[in-house]
Amino acid sequence: MNWNYIVRRVSLFLVVVWAAASVNFFVPRLGTGRDPIREKLGQLAASGGLRQDGIEAMVKAYQAKFGLDRPLYEQYWNFLADTVRLDLGYSLANYPARVGDLIGNAMPWTIGLMVISVLIGFAIGTLMGALSAWPGSPRWVRGMAVPLMTMSAIPPYLLGLIVLYILGLKLKLFPLSGGYSPGMLAIASVDYYIDVVHHSILPALAIVLQAVGFWALGMRGMMVTTSGEDYIALAEANGLRNRTIFLRFGLRNAMLPQFTALGLSLANVVAGQVIVEVIFAYPGIGTVLFQAIQASDYTVINGVVLILIMAIGLVTMIMDFLYPLLDPRISHRSGT
């Protein structure tokens, strides 16, 4: 890996973040010419019996406070400066709350749920996909390809509704919603962690089920090609055990593209999880986003969108840097 590549890759990341921030700034302003401050004051006036004649002055005062009376390029510049400092402003719906705090509180929930379910789904899916394409597998394992394919085709939030109904509502094995039991003190204790894990099993299962299908499908394709390679035939001719051939020669070689796909799939995983969280009322970033959409809380919507784009861009970039370690055939030299 050389500096040239690192600089190029980091600048690509910065361009993505800048573009996302700019879209966030301009799209609402290009739109229908709505004025959130006037709307909010109008609502307050309607509900609180405020007299209408003061509103113009108040709109002016708020616009000055938020800098909305300045020219557009100046607003844009301030907005970019705030974004760089990760200052996402105030929530419109829950005014004193800052967008950064709302997201910050939700982030650990989302990251925890996602990392665990993605890893489990990736491991099980890769193994099952490999087994389902391996000529030495039992018949029923090879027959798994069809249900795996079906699972990969259905979005995780729909699988979530099904597992929620069967395991949560009918068999009453798991709680139906939330991140922890109401009334539970959110402090670090064994009881609390058990409760959190108990609540996260169903949403995780929804994501895992779909992920298993997705990874199995990709792995299956690779394994079919690999199992036809000459070195597999050679290993067989050498009399190696089936198990050794499968693990050392088949799985290991077929797996590399799976790692590449792991980085690329991340964006889709996040999108799926956002909706899974809504269904399970899980206290992560998806639920924050859903509530913001319901309340037309634009600063929160834009903040979540920006943070998600940044986070995924960052992780994709780190994975790009790690590939040469996983696969010696990939190198980031300038010549190649």
């Binding site: 690509l12 361009v15 993505v16 573009a19 996302a20 879209v23 966030n24 799209v27 609402p28 739109g31 229908t32 394409a133 394919m149 079906t150 990969s152 085709a153 259905i154 979005p155 939030y157 729909l158 509704l161 099904i162 929620l164 109904y165 509502l169 139906l176 299956r220 394709g221 079919v224 090609t225 036809g228 690329l264 964006a267 889709n268 996040v270 999108a271 799926g272 956002v274 909706i275 809504v278 269904i279 986003l289 859903f290 959409i293 319901q294 037309s296 634009y298 919507i301 834009n302 979540v304 969108v305 998600l308 784009i309 995924i312 861009g313 994709t316």
Partner: protein
């Protein structure tokens, strides 16, 4: 007639393609013939008794607002398909145009297109769509929904087509056509395009799948056409009114069943077409 024979041959050659086509055909027939047997007015709120479990009178039950779910599906399934087909077609259309021109012509145009596509592909699509859809929320109709989704449906086709064109451009028959004095446009349309047809069909199935997936994702968050009973909006209403906890399983299970059919059908079609376009994979089945 030769075309027809070819289609029959393909369907027999690839069981996946055949099964997928049957599933999608069933969905299409359900949407087109449904209105003959089912009174579509019952898809409107307050048209029948609310909260009824499936029975002879209402085979799929009714929801909270007094909609008959069979009628909702007869109206909603084609609407969802329309979003997918429209967005998929627009996405593929842009993809064909950009992919062929940038792959064939190369140069600065190619560099710009490639950079743009690679950058956009690292951005989570649904998240961007959420940002767009929430700003124009009140104006969303089925067609606008399709255009919103289409705005991000063109990158993947562009990338894949461009890569294919890059390898085809160097083949002997293209060089031959050039020597014969064919223009670039002619080569693209008469030499390259026909060769990529099965590939493009697989891409189209993929693009439609992606578009439906995204539109249902947006709708499940409430960012869909508020007055049209698409599959995603039905799921949204079921979630919003806690159909699950209230035991009204039919309200969410039926849209999931239909969307499952659509997704599996499209996946089978694109996998089957891939196999035909790419004989190396044929052993996979």
């Amino acid at each position: 007639m030769r075309r027809f024979d070819q289609v029959v041959y393909y369907l027999r050659e690839s069981p996946m393609l055949g099964a997928g086509t049957l599933l999608i055909l069933f969905i299409v027939l359900f949407g087109t013939l449904g209105p003959v047997f089912v009174d579509t007015d019952m898809a409107q709120p307050l048209s029948t008794t609310p909260r009824m479990a499936p029975s002879w009178e209402h085979p799929f039950g009714t929801d909270d607002a007094g909609r008959d779910l069979l009628a909702v599906m007869v109206v909603g399934v084609p609407l969802t398909m329309r979003v997918g087909l429209l967005a998929g077609a627009v996405g593929l259309g842009f993809g064909i145009f950009l992919g062929f021109t940038s792959g064939y012509l190369g140069g600065t145009f190619d560099t710009v297109v490639r950079g743009f596509v690679d950058t956009l592909l690292t951005v989570p699509g649904l998240v961007v769509l959420i940002s767009i859809a929430s700003t124009i929320r009140e104006e969303i109709s089925v067609n606008i929904m399709a255009m919103v989704v289409a705005s991000l449906a063109w990158m993947w086709p562009t990338r894949v087509i461009r890569a294919q064109v890059l390898t085809m451009r160097e083949r002997a028959y293209v060089q031959m056509a050039k020597l014969n004095g064919m223009s670039d446009t002619e080569i693209i349309w008469k030499e390259l395009f026909p060769n990529l047809l099965p590939y493009l069909a697989a891409l189209f199935a993929n693009a439609v799948n992606w578009a439906i997936l995204s539109s249902i994702g947006l709708e499940a968050l409430g960012l869909g056409p508020q007055n049209d009973p698409t599959i995603g909006m039905t799921i949204y209403w079921a979630i919003t009114f806690s159909a699950l906890i209230r035991g009204m399983w039919w309200w969410w299970a039926i849209p999931i069943f239909f969307i499952g059919l659509v997704f599996v059908g499209l996946l089978l079609i694109s996998a089957g077409l891939d196999e035909l376009a790419n004989p190396k994979q044929r052993k996979a089945v």
